[in-house]
Symmetry: C2
Subunit: 343 residues, 2 copies
Amino acid sequence: MKLTLLFGGASFEHEISIVSAITVMQKLSGFTLDFVFCDQDHSFYRIEASQMKAKFFSSGDYKKSPRLHVTRGGFEQRGLLGTKRLEGTVLSLIHGGDGEDGSISALLDFYDIAYIGPRKEAAMLSFDKAYTKWLAASVGVKTLPCEVLSRGELPGMEYPIIIKPARLGSSIGVSVVKEAHELSYALDVAFEFDERVVIEPFIAGVKEYNLAGYKGAGGMVYSIVEEPQKQEFLDFDKKYRDFSRSERAGAAAIDEALRKRLQRAFDALYTPLFEGALIRCDFFVIEGEVYLNEINPIPGSLAHYLFEDFSACVRDLCAHLPRPKRPRVSYQYIHSINQAKGK
Amino acid sequence: MKLTLLFGGASFEHEISIVSAITVMQKLSGFTLDFVFCDQDHSFYRIEASQMKAKFFSSGDYKKSPRLHVTRGGFEQRGLLGTKRLEGTVLSLIHGGDGEDGSISALLDFYDIAYIGPRKEAAMLSFDKAYTKWLAASVGVKTLPCEVLSRGELPGMEYPIIIKPARLGSSIGVSVVKEAHELSYALDVAFEFDERVVIEPFIAGVKEYNLAGYKGAGGMVYSIVEEPQKQEFLDFDKKYRDFSRSERAGAAAIDEALRKRLQRAFDALYTPLFEGALIRCDFFVIEGEVYLNEINPIPGSLAHYLFEDFSACVRDLCAHLPRPKRPRVSYQYIHSINQAKGK
């Protein structure tokens, strides 16, 4: 089975996308892989498997690779001796902007290229932390209360609070503020990354559970539930290492009833909006209630470490991708108007 | 000033987009215009001004026109004698799918092409009637109560109700249901066009007011308020004619206080999400309260008929378009990891 790993993108998460792709390639077996790198100028390059090393990109060496063009049905490599086309389903590993904001999805759908990843609506709603709360509320999944601030506005919530740029993943720009004097710096940091900032109560020691899944041939497939390593929260450096995780995770010690409740919340959020994607939902459990913290529509290294047979999951997904439905244009209105005019 | 009218698209509103473009070209003065047609297969063609007639498209004659390719910075026409590039700002007139769902916006932003039109988030939120209600609620603008149904589900609301596909404009698939026996057919019609259907109470004789506007050099610019021609609601045939309106509309007989309230609601919805676009908001006024009915992020013929000097508005908008901000990638994390490894 042919598969094209797409990674890079013009975003703050460009580098972790490279790390993620290098990790995922090592976890996929039974595929013929191609590698497509999107650089920060939105040029696409075809990368050899042997060149899939972080330094190849950070050094700029990738620019010597063949350029690719997005055309109907696939990426195309043009040369003096003709045109080659990458035929595999695309597996999008572009985290953050471009990938998780729906741009790449819109591009791939527009050009009729099959891909594993969130469709554009799903990406855009989960990329923005305020929109995610609207989505969760509409399907009956709880989230923490929040305030959305623009520059110059101040939160009204009691401390401690957590401050997040509305539209970034990987903990970039996130701070916990416990006292008033820490506020101004934390807001400055968050506003460096976005024009809108989300404020939530910060609950120390909250139970956190991560669950990944997708819809395959036999319906929903869920990963194990992981209780992520406890730190106050994962900062960018730690998350960065998280994207290169290679070991399988251990399952959280939770009872069957909670596992089912997490799965039901996941299903409510996933179906049908996220069909075609393997996503990870991060939940809090507070006083016995399940709260959605965030949806990762393209989780780091595609959360391979939560699945027993990751390659089988990707094969299953490839065979069950939604394809855009396009109405055929009949020109019946223009015809009827022309007839009415006697043309 | 150079301007490229982009129209067509793979959607149920393909034909009205053609009509819209033909109307708008006649209303623009002082521009050097190019015309780019997106056909239902997502191929782009460069159209001569003299060919801008509905029949040129419905007959398929457009296929003899030069093909265009989307490349960084603009549409490109490749020929034996070299490559020509269209340099003007794009004015997107692709209504419905592709245009109003954010696909074309994502494509133009990805390739760094300046355009008048909603950015992808704005398009996607206003294209879906359920998401529009979330947006309105978040900025304190009222909407009618609604139910969102999937196939097989039945409304719980009292009759009369109005049934709309969640994601179509131009009244396609919309029905008013006054009695239970009309329900099943109306749902079938709506589900032909979308997998989700929105149900609202139908209020006969409700006051409806349309207001268009955009953000230009001097802040918000509002059109006159129009009270659209009263019919139970505009069906597709009537809307179709609406897209080819060429006469200026008359201002509704409303007092200054109501005009200001409509403008305030418009501003709350528009800023900052819709910056770069000229949109039309359709409001209801019920018992003295303003309700948003829908947002048209690319209104038919760009609502030129509501503005005194439409060409001046387009020039103003062209000079005040938001441009995507892209973070520069420093590779500092990959560098620091390689240093730690001693590479």
